[in-house]
Symmetry: C2
Subunit: 241 residues, 2 copies
DNA sequence: TTGTCAATTTTTGCATACAATTTTAGGGAG
DNA sequence: CTCCCTAAAATTGTATGCAAAAATTGACAA
């Protein structure tokens, strides 16, 4: 299950109301997001409306509405009269996205340092050591999950809803690339060291330093992802979660 | 006319194809964007589907698709079974948005400094002096237009498509607030000085400094917008462009 | 007056039908 | 065999109809 299902019209602005039965187009958007992120729909793959409708058990009207949302999020690409495909960002697109995420996380780090309470830091610390454990055991999947959790949590600590939403959206576009970024053992260890520095800076409430570490961390992650892409032209089929 | 009309599925990722007749839902999205940004549809105002359909001369299906896009962009807020309203960001939302835009422009400044050519700088310089002229004449509207052009152009100079798109989207959400930010004469003059520093830093290719100036510039703009909001509880009706 | 509740009206959500466009298949002509 | 053209099939774009939910109205009681 994806953590992206957070109700209707998730804009980053405040909006909260009870909500009873979820509209089909929201349901469809969530399902499709999962299918794309988990690789069930491969990058570049054509999405035929009727086929997906049959699969999800709904009609084209709500599905098309969902597709527009996904297109706005950058997960699918629409070509008028020629259907939709799962977005397959070029290396340049991926690089651009990493850069922007880096800037967003840097800002998040600065803001977080102004607001974190001790128990927030403790929480991150727990996640960090769990992640370290998985790293020493070579458990890539679990490591990745916690890695992502830490970054998400840090961004959440910024308290900036617009930032949180923008970060979540961009992150979804390159989930696959972030996953493969830590495939090499060397990069993996480097990433752990960077995460330690993040934790230190956060504990010291050194916003400037945390921002710098995060930006560097993301730049390195991009470099690693690029190297992986270059070396292995035959990527993995389903990397999921 | 809005500068947001740049074809189908504007995701920030590369995508370019001829395109002949534009779908109605795209047309509708553009028209609605304009209506919202120009204040024809006021913040908080309810949007009734049938009414808008009559106005634009189309049926509800494409309109609803357009509304989903606008919701993803943060311009409208959807409430299941209860219709859509023009987003009316809280002061906190506006502040958050300014912060994120500041971080994006800071990144743009850094990247731009690595790529600008002399004629790019010359172009910005021209815009700058045109803007200065309007400032001395007290022509707020023309000043605002050029001010925005300069910021947009700078972001474009980053060459980062994801960044450009994210910036464009967030900018659209708080166009009104950015407009009112320069209402006070004092702030106006301060903004001009900051713009001069931007130009200097860009000409010197000093990315660090440009980033710093931009972040500060946006922070000050936010402060000015907040002050304006606090002092004038009776805002202007249509601020448009 | 104020509050409550049910009937009516309005509005949204979804499915279906049809039109427009693109893709595919097939059949010559060179 | 390849190219080009045409007709059929598939796919997308839009309108319309109906069901479900919410908003409105108004009568009635406190």
């Amino acid at each position: 299950m994806s953590e992206t299902s957070q109700g209707p019209a998730t804009t980053g602005f405040s909006e909260r109301q009870p909500r009873q039965r979820r509209p089909l187009h929201e349901e469809a958007a969530d399902r499709l997001r999962d299918m794309i992120v988990e690789g069930e729909l491969a990058p570049g793959e054509r999405i035929r409306e009727q086929a997906v409708c049959d699969r999800l058990g709904l009609s084209r009207t709500p599905l098309r509405e969902a597709m527009k949302v996904l297109a706005a999020e950058g997960l699918v690409t629409l070509q008028p009269n020629r259907g939709a495909t799962v977005s397959d960002p070029s290396p340049a697109d991926v690089a651009d996205t990493f850069k922007v995420i880096g800037a967003l996380e840097a800002l998040a780090g600065e803001l977080a340092c102004e607001r974190v309470k001790e128990n927030d830091i403790a929480e991150i610390r727990v996640l960090h050591y769990q992640m370290a454990l998985h790293q020493t055991r070579g458990e890539l999947r679990e490591y990745f999950r916690l890695n992502q959790r830490i970054h998400e949590r840090l961004v959440e600590l910024s308290g900036n809803r617009v930032l949180i939403e923008a970060h979540r959206q961009l992150g979804g576009r390159i989930r696959r690339q972030r996953f493969v970024a830590n495939r090499s053992g060397a990069r993996w260890e480097q990433a752990m060291r960077e995460h330690e520095q993040m934790l230190e800076a956060l504990a010291a409430r050194d916003g400037r330093r945390l921002a710098e570490v995060l930006r560097l961390h993301l730049d390195n992650k991009l470099t690693a992802a690029e190297r992986f892409d270059r070396e292995a032209e035959k990527p993995l089929a389903v990397v999921a979660d």
